[in-house]
């Protein structure tokens, strides 16, 4: 029997194996920003809450690394991450918020109910800043260094185990 007769069967086995391998791999549904290492765009956002100032790019260039938290009062995982953002604030981390497509009274009510870990919150009514930094949902948290360069992206809500991780990333960004 000629060996070439086995080629189709081998090809078939290869594709079955490939499909089986791909099916067994965990699926990464996150869309990662490709803006890591690049500077924040120039922007100036009006205040999203009645108590805190708005946000502009200049706020990130004071030499101190910060967290940029993309969130919204209408977002459920944002409620889940609120206590962990509070833990970060207590550890001395400055958290700047950007509220996506939000109303002032809703933001105020959220902060009253779930606590306020933010130093300032800007209102992004048309997701413009979100698109500029390659974020595709709420909540997402970015580590920004003291020169306004994006250093790290955390996708999804911040959980207890992410708190030391983010503090470490902030420390790295400060070096």
């Amino acid at each position: 029997m000629r060996w070439t007769l086995w080629v189709p069967l081998l090809l078939f086995a290869f594709f079955v194996g490939l499909a089986g391998y791909q099916l067994s791999q965990p699926k990464d549904e996150f869309i990662h920003s490709t803006m890591i290492g690049k500077p924040l765009p120039e922007f100036e956002l009006k205040p999203a809450s009645s108590a805190l100032p708005g946000v502009s790019t200049a706020d990130f260039r004071d030499g101190k690394p910060k967290l940029l938290n993309i969130w919204a009062s209408w977002c459920l995982p944002c409620i889940a991450e609120a206590p962990h953002l509070e833990a970060l604030r207590e550890a001395g981390v400055e958290i700047v918020g950007v509220a996506i497509r939000d109303k002032q009274q809703d933001v105020d009510r959220f902060l009253e109910t779930h606590g306020n870990p933010y130093s300032r919150i800007g209102a992004d009514d048309i997701s413009a800043i979100q698109l500029e930094i390659g974020s595709s949902g709420v909540p997402e948290t970015f580590v920004i260094d003291g020169q306004g360069i994006i250093r790290h992206q955390h996708i999804g809500d911040v959980r207890a185990e992410n708190v030391p991780e983010l503090i470490e990333k902030l420390r790295e960004a400060g070096q």
Binding site: I31, T34, W74, D102, I126, E132, G137
Partner: protein, 147 residues
């Protein structure tokens, strides 16, 4: 019955809470005044992926974020930006994933090369099997003496 009522209530509650209440961005649903510009914007929007819904283009999706992306596309087209520059602006932020337009990249070139390779192999096999037959005399052709 109670369980059913609770289940129905749960179905209603989540989507309502997980949606913002702001009006859509100005150019999310509004076309550009200039039909030529709108056609350009539309063609581009059909080839950009909605990041929230992932299997739809931003032209097809009613997700608020898709509306915000349409607003970006339309305002940038209206400002005279080239559609491919706008695509590149998004690819710079989200990677190739955001664009439906196939591109020859380091990981995608086998998709373009393999069909060509298979065509060549199939052509070679066909040529070997039947291409030379009319000249006669090959071993696979029986003559009457064999039968």
């Amino acid at each position: 019955m109670r369980a059913l009522a609770l289940f129905l209530a749960a179905l209603l509650a989540l989507p309502l809470a997980a949606q913002d209440s702001l009006p859509p961005a100005p150019y999310a649903y509004q076309q550009l005044e200039d039909p030529a510009q709108e056609a350009k914007a539309m063609a581009l929007m059909h080839t950009l992926r909605c990041l929230k819904c992932q299997s739809q283009s931003i032209a097809d999706s009613d997700a608020p974020m898709a509306g915000d992306m349409r607003h970006q596309v339309r305002t940038r087209i209206a400002a005279g930006e080239d559609p491919e520059a706008i695509r590149q602006w998004l690819v710079d932020r989200y990677g190739d994933y955001v664009s439906y337009e196939p591109r020859m990249t380091a990981s995608a070139w086998p998709l373009f090369a393999i069909p060509l390779l298979l065509l060549l192999v199939a052509g070679a096999i066909l040529w070997k099997r039947i291409g030379r037959r009319p000249e006669g005399g090959s071993g696979e052709v029986y003559d009457e003496a064999d039968v």
